[in-house]
């Protein structure tokens, strides 16, 4: 059995156990979404008719008053009847279809302290926007974990994920850093999220600053390379914030990219273990030192919540337009 969910003139089938967001994205109907954890509110929509079960929607994100006036979180709500909804401005346009993905581990590589690159081969190519993420099912647990793609859109057959070990972590210590081996099958769904560049035709080639904390670098790798492919000479400042030099990775890759793109500056910043070869402190402070005015820039932030908050403040302090500040809103499992 399933219910009909109507959004922006599109009618999609939604199983009683399925969230409205999942049903729409699987049908290729766009709904704003970011965290898929019920915490960011991006997917809030108005239920016009029908009825939904709010599931695990937190009261912080969806208050009782909002529920009473018919608001719901698409990423948490499940239909109890045929339901019509109205989302924000962009809801209802077509988007990359959300799919279940069966993947095979192609490579597992230790790239830095407690950090791995995992390459997952896809049976069929995946259409996504660089910067989006996938959810992996942790075998045998029913748990799911979100990992950003470091790929560009044409790298659609092998997904590149950066994973940091969380001591005692269900997904990392026990699996991705435990028994995971080349050839293993990994169940995933994707693509998800709204952390990606505007469409090429709306991208004016303006300067960009990207700040990644730890493995929060992953989506920025896909975004920066895509941005430079569109406008090879644009100014791109990519900051990688980590604790110590042992946490840095892909330095050669960025050196090579910078050699091909004089507008690219890659800046590693060490917060805890000083090293004369690198800048010290926080990457958001390094940005404030380096850039006098952020007017006309776009800013991209992925990493621990405190870093992202500091980044938003730093960007606004340099008067970057808030419309052009982008942040990954899911909290990475390995954020610390």
């Amino acid at each position: 059995m399933s219910f009909a969910v109507t959004a922006g003139g599109h009618r999609v089938e939604c199983a009683p156990s399925q969230t409205l967001l999942d049903a729409c994205l699987r049908a290729g109907v766009w709904m704003p979404n970011s965290c898929n954890q019920g915490t960011c509110g991006t997917c809030k929509l108005q239920v016009l008719s029908g009825e939904v079960d709010h599931g695990a929607s937190p009261r912080d994100t969806l208050t009782d008053d909002e529920r009473a006036t018919g608001l719901a979180l698409a990423c948490q709500a499940r239909p109890l009847a045929d339901t019509e909804v109205r989302g924000h401005g962009t809801a209802g346009r077509t988007t990359h279809r959300l799919r279940d993905l069966t993947t095979t581990v192609r490579a597992v590589e230790d790239i830095a302290r407690d950090t791995r690159r995992v390459l997952l081969g896809l049976a069929e190519p995946l259409a996504f926007e660089p910067g989006q993420y996938v959810e992996l099912s942790v075998p045998g647990s029913g748990a799911r974990r979100q990992y950003s793609l470091a790929n560009t859109a044409d790298e659609d057959k092998v997904l590149e994920l950066h994973v940091r070990r969380v001591p005692g972590g269900l997904a990392t210590d026990c699996w991705l850093f435990g028994g995971l081996d080349v050839g293993d099958r990994v169940e995933a769904t994707g693509p998800l999220g709204d952390f990606h560049l505007p469409p090429a035709e709306d991208d004016d080639g303006g300067p960009m600053v990207l700040i990644g904390g730890g493995t929060g670098l992953a989506p920025l790798v896909g975004i920066a390379r895509t941005a430079l492919a569109r406008h090879p000479t644009r100014e791109v400042r990519l900051y990688h914030g980590v604790r110590g030099a042992a946490d840095l990775y892909d330095l050669d890759r960025f050196a090579e990219l910078a050699a091909a793109h004089p507008g690219l500056t890659f800046v590693p910043v060490l917060s805890d273990e000083p090293d004369p070869a690198y800048r010290g402190g926080f990457p958001t402070d390094a940005f404030l030192e380096d850039v006098a005015s952020g007017r006309g820039w776009s800013g991209w932030l992925c990493g621990p919540p405190a870093m992202v908050e500091a980044g938003v403040k730093a960007f606004k302090r340099r008067r970057m337009s808030p419309r052009h500040i982008h942040r990954e809103k899911f909290t990475p499992a390995d954020a610390s």
Partner: protein, 407 residues
């Protein structure tokens, strides 16, 4: 209710106009609690102060519009806010076409955004500004001025006019004989009107023979038989309504919203980060400090009983929407600005068939102005070395708002 049960309202005898202008809330809070419909001697009028009584009077079939005495002295007859029946219907049909949502949507962005940008460019790199005089009021008057056809009248002149008309319109104090207590208070409004006539009369002369797309040109011609125009004496009172309230209030609304947001830094930050919240921030700003605080009135057309008070036919009642919007029966902690309070309807735009005709236009002017402000200066802070003073009983808003930011 018999007279013996009436609360003792003798404390009202000592309330003065300047007290009300400085802080109407203390007096009206007591009125809401003790007598939601009360005769206030200094105003020489009954006053409705709660949500329920304001709404009841504004929408009752037993009341019709009347202009307050000081308002009538300032605007003359027939001002749209004080007339009824066919004349009111004609004046509404005259002003409404330009203010219809579908019509406003067609040009509002192209009208207001460049104006907002132009004023921002003058100070956005200074690192400090006084936003009431440098931004809120100029964007408000320029947007409406251009819509009306007053492109050649400078923004400072339009600001001067609304300020003078405001003080005249709200020169409401009455003496015990029912005469104006300060007749000399109308002089500056009279001077402003003389100047307005000197500037607008030649424009009207031209529009009569050369109609264009400006609102006042349409007021003259729309719905009239070919070759005829509305008489200018007939439309001037409504031009004054515009040159006061419609010019002034979007500026008040923006400035009050900003002061409210500055009182909740985390909410300001949310709104700056997500401009989709601006309309909600404005709606709460208008509830928190209603720009048209107490400027319009209704008059009973037959004997009625309101809030337990018997009123004979022909009794005027002033509508204190700014007080109604602080009604604790409706709003928790009403004197606190709170973006996240339940979005209940408020009375900042009035109610009934005389409710504001410019709601859609005004909301968009304020929205676009704040969007551009936060876009250009996302690191705006209130300059805490300067205080913020609110002024006004009839019309209310901050008199100045000093801000700073890092450049």
């Amino acid at each position: 209710m018999t007279t013996t049960e009436r609360p003792d309202l003798s404390w009202l005898d000592t309330v003065t106009m300047s007290e009300l202008e400085r802080d109407p809330y203390t007096t009206y809070e007591r009125l809401r609690a003790e007598a939601p419909l009360a005769y206030v001697p200094v105003l020489g009028s009954y006053v409705a102060s709660t949500t329920e009584v304001c709404r009841e009077v504004a929408t009752s079939p037993d009341f019709e519009a009347v202009i307050t005495p000081a308002g009538g002295r300032t605007f003359g007859h027939p001002a749209i806010i004080g007339v009824n029946g066919d004349i009111h219907a004609d004046l509404r049909s005259m002003v409404e076409p330009a203010l219809q949502p579908a019509e406003v949507d067609r040009w509002i962005d192209d009208l207001v955004r460049p104006i907002a940008r132009r004023y921002l460019e003058q100070f956005e790199d200074d690192g400090h500004a006084e936003l009431v005089a440098q931004y809120c009021e100029p964007v408000s008057v320029r947007s409406l001025g251009d819509l009306l056809g007053l492109q050649d009248v400078g923004s400072d002149k339009l600001r001067e006019w609304f300020a003078k008309l405001n003080r005249s319109f709200t020169n409401a104090a009455m003496d015990e004989n029912g005469e104006f207590a300060n007749p000399e208070g109308f002089a500056e409004g009279d001077a402003a009107k003389a100047e307005i006539r000197a500037i607008v009369d030649p424009l009207i002369d031209r529009w009569i023979v050369e109609p264009d797309d400006s609102a006042i040109s349409h007021w003259l011609h729309d719905g009239m038989p070919p070759g005829q125009t509305r008489d200018r004496e007939y439309i001037y009172p409504t031009i004054y309504v515009y040159l006061l309230g419609a010019m002034q209030e979007p500026g008040h609304g923006m400035a009050s919203t900003l002061v409210g947001l500055f009182s909740r830094p985390e909410q300001l930050e949310e709104v700056v980060d997500d401009p989709a919240l601006i309309p909600r921030a404005i709606s709460e700003g208008l509830r928190w400090t209603s720009p048209i605080w107490s400027a319009t009135a209704r008059i009973s057309t037959k004997p009625v009983t309101i809030a337990g008070v018997d009123l004979p036919a022909g009794t005027p009642v002033m509508l204190s929407y700014g007080s109604a919007n602080h009604d604790t029966g409706q709003y928790e902690a009403p004197s606190t600005y709170d973006l996240h309070r339940p979005p209940l309807p408020h009375l900042a735009f009035g109610a009934g068939n005389h409710a504001c005709a410019g709601i859609y236009f005004a909301n968009h002017v304020m929205r676009i102005a704040l969007e551009e402000l936060f876009e250009a200066i996302p690191n705006l802070e209130r300059d805490t070395r300067e205080g913020v003073d609110f002024w006004g009983w009839g019309f209310r808003g901050p008199t100045s708002l000093h801000v700073t930011w890092e450049v």
